[in-house]
């Protein structure tokens, strides 16, 4: 006899709308059902009514945490469409922003992971040091979040020479903090006990579920858009993909911590190699055609597709966010775990639900599409209100 333990539709911790049904026997999870799609915002449709410049701002709003990866993929798609090569300095600046964002996102997740296993001190400490990264982004772009930095053919703001020293100092301050967390998280025996061997996603499962980014790399799948299909300045820089073999929650944590070191390495190289030059090509028009952009978000591969008929607006815009594939890998990783571990495993993919919302078309038994229009919803609501009134006798 299995019972259902609901997590959601509003997740009490991650504070985003999604619904996990844990079918449990005692404390052991036998099956997991995942429901998303509670907060569809129609971004793709909305993009078709925006000009190319506005689209970049729009997709920045898809996700609040990885708010630069969507614009990154978006401008990659547009530059692919227009055959544009952004200036070298702009590419370096873009890379710096992307990597800073990766550090901040991984730190945010690390803090939350600490909170999830009841280790609130790690949470608060990590978020304290995350402020350094936010300050850096604030200094460079003018915003702590949603940087509005990228545009087709360049970037909006330059990294000033007088800021360079301060940026390097801040990065140096970040390194001991990372060492601290590496020690606190990767050498703690209780954390080992809680996370090692928990929620294992095997290499084959990772491939079957098409997971990406730091959910795939701990399972021994070496995929990273930055290496596989280098964009921006990643090709001109010396860095390594972090790949581990175990696929459990511990290695997912370890991958993220080690990636932060790589990110800092990349940022420092970018700062070293950057030469003075133009940062923007002032692109005015995009030709008709199709463009595809891929970028490595902190959670994995972001894919953007755009289609143009040569006008000021995209004809079709398509987004695929990494969490969309990653979340469903939990179906495999959660089975056989206890409820206590399942909560941890669900969080370990660093899910970002707002990125993943999709509209769903429901087909009935006869294969007809069953779409409710606004009028239908109002009618249903009226009927229901009447029924409740009757029941209550008012």
């Amino acid at each position: 006899m299995s019972e259902i333990i609901p997590i959601g539709p509003y997740h009490p911790l991650q504070e985003e709308p999604e619904f996990f049904r844990l079918h449990v026997e005692g404390e052991i999870v036998k099956k997991l059902e995942i429901e998303i799609g509670y907060n569809h915002r129609g971004i793709e449709k909305l993009a078709e009514s925006k000009s190319w410049d506005q689209v970049v701002f729009l997709v920045e709003r898809i996700c609040g945490i990885c708010s630069t990866s969507h614009p990154a993929a978006s401008i990659c798609a547009m530059e692919d469409l227009g055959g544009i090569e952004a200036p070298e300095r702009a590419q370096y600046i873009r890379t710096v922003i992307c990597e800073l964002e990766r550090v901040h996102s991984h730190m945010l997740w690390l803090g939350l992971a600490g909170h999830f296993i009841g280790y609130n001190t790690v949470w608060m400490w990590v978020w304290k040091y995350r402020e350094i990264v936010c300050d850096l982004l604030d200094k460079i772009t003018g915003n702590r979040q949603s940087y509005a930095m990228f545009k087709c053919g360049g970037v909006r703001r330059d990294i000033l020479d007088e800021d360079m020293l301060w940026i390097r100092q801040s990065l140096n301050k970040l390194k001991p903090a990372l060492d601290l967390f590496k020690g606190a998280v990767m050498d703690d025996p209780v954390i080992h006990a809680r996370t090692k061997g928990v929620g294992v996603l095997t290499r084959q499962q990772a491939i079957d579920y098409c997971v990406v980014g730091p959910t795939a790399r701990p399972s021994g799948v070496a995929i990273d858009v930055r290496k596989d299909n280098p964009y921006f300045a990643y090709d001109w820089i010396d860095w390594d993909i972090v790949v581990l073999e175990e696929g459990d929650v511990f290695s997912k944590t370890a991958v993220r911590i080690l990636e932060m070191y790589e990110s800092i390495k990349i940022i420092e190289q970018c700062l070293d190699k950057m030469k003075p030059g133009v940062i923007d090509l002032h692109v005015k028009e995009l030709p008709a055609g199709e463009g595809v952009g891929r970028a490595e978000a902190p959670r994995g591969e972001v894919f953007h597709y755009c289609m143009s008929d040569g006008s000021n607006f995209p004809m079709r815009y398509k987004v695929r966010a990494p969490s969309y594939t990653n979340i469903f890998s939990n179906e495999a990783a959660c089975v056989g775990q206890t409820v206590a571990d399942a909560a941890l495993v669900l969080a370990a993919v660093d899910p970002c639900y707002c990125c993943t919302e999709r509209s769903i078309t429901v087909r009935n038994d006869r294969g007809e599409e069953n779409i409710l229009t606004g009028g239908d919803l109002i009618r249903l609501s009226h009927e229901r209100t009447k029924q409740i009134r009757k029941e209550l006798g008012v």
């Binding site: 019972e3 259902i4 333990i5 009490p12 911790l13 404390e27 600490g114 909170h115 999830f116 296993i117 009841g118 280790y119 609130n120 001190t121 790690v122 949470w123 608060m124 400490w125 304290k128 703690d188 209780v190 954390i191 006990a193 809680r194 206890t338 409820v339 206590a340 571990d341 909560a343």
Partner: protein
């Protein structure tokens, strides 16, 4: 009349509640400072309590109403009894009766039992899960705790009276001073953390796993009473440990400071443990208490029997 006053005002309910709120504030403030936060003002625990009293009480449909509402009161009564007896024994060691130690040990379990009762009565799956975890945790920590208490009884020559245990320590030095005593205190501090259900043993509540578990259906005054019970336990458990292992308190001259220091050190220990470790799983907790902790307890008892 005096007995009623003792249970209701000093050293019973009112005193323990006030002391518990103070302890809760110290715990929260220390936690905040450890985590680079500012922390709440002194009266915050009181504000929390009063605010909850003014909220609506919601009794879930299909729950066992009387059990659901009486469980918090039961817990409160339990902790009040323990506190009154322990403080009376510390203040007036001649009072009390033979065997009051056993009564205290029984009543110490009542708050946990009340939580289990209330959680099962609330007809919620998460609460039931929390209750079953609380039950396992209780089974796990009770055995080593009794072993630690046994060390005290053996060392003080088989006395079962709280007052005598304290006067023994005040004339022959505290239990902590011996090898077996040190081991017993280690065991007792660990089990104290479990009895207070604080991290790493806050498994029954585990807000990030089962959303507050046992308390998930509670709201308003019943929740306030549960929270108050928690706060009172936060000062009562250190009181029990102070009496049993650290030679109790003495209200003379610099002894007052020394006595307060004992409480503060225990509270500090609780707070530090809870801020430097993640939550363990229930099976790990049970294995921990029945494995290494029980072994330490048995070693302590054997050493105590041998006179160390």
């Amino acid at each position: 009349m005096n007995a009623y006053l003792a249970y209701l005002v000093f050293p019973g309910f009112l005193f323990t509640a006030a002391a518990g709120m103070l302890a809760s504030w110290i715990d929260r403030k220390l936690t905040a400072r450890v985590q680079w936060r500012v922390g709440p003002p002194l009266l915050q625990p009181l504000y929390d309590f009063v605010k909850l009293l003014g909220k609506e009480t919601i009794v879930p449909k299909g729950s066992s109403k009387i059990t659901f509402l009486l469980a918090p009161v039961l817990g409160l009564v339990g902790v009040t009894f323990v506190s009154t007896m322990v403080w009376s024994a510390m203040l007036w060691p001649e009072g009390g009766f033979t065997g009051d130690l056993i009564v205290v040990l029984y009543f110490l379990m009542v708050p946990s039992l009340a939580v289990i009762l209330g959680a099962f009565a609330s007809k919620n799956r998460l609460a039931s899960l929390g209750a079953s975890r609380e039950m396992k945790l209780m089974l796990a920590d009770e055995l080593p705790f009794l072993l630690a208490v046994l060390v005290v009884i053996i060392q003080s020559g088989g006395s079962l009276k709280l007052g005598q245990l304290m006067t023994y320590q005040q004339s022959y030095g505290m239990i902590l001073g011996s090898v077996s005593g040190v081991l017993a205190v280690v065991v007792a501090v660990l089990t104290m953390q479990a009895k207070l259900t604080l991290v790493p043993f806050d498994i029954p509540e585990a807000e990030t796993e089962i959303m507050g578990g046992v308390f998930v259906e509670y709201s308003g005054p019943p929740l306030a009473v549960f929270k108050l019970t928690r706060m009172m336990m936060l000062i009562t458990m250190p009181a029990v440990l102070t009496l049993l292992f650290l030679g109790g308190v003495k209200f003379e001259g610099w002894h007052i400071l020394w006595s307060l220091l004992k409480f503060f050190v225990l509270l500090l220990l609780i707070t530090l443990i809870r801020n430097t470790s993640p939550r363990v799983r229930i099976d790990q907790a049970v294995r921990f208490f029945w494995g290494p902790v029980t072994v330490i307890g048995i070693v302590a008892v054997v050493l105590a029997l041998l006179g160390f």
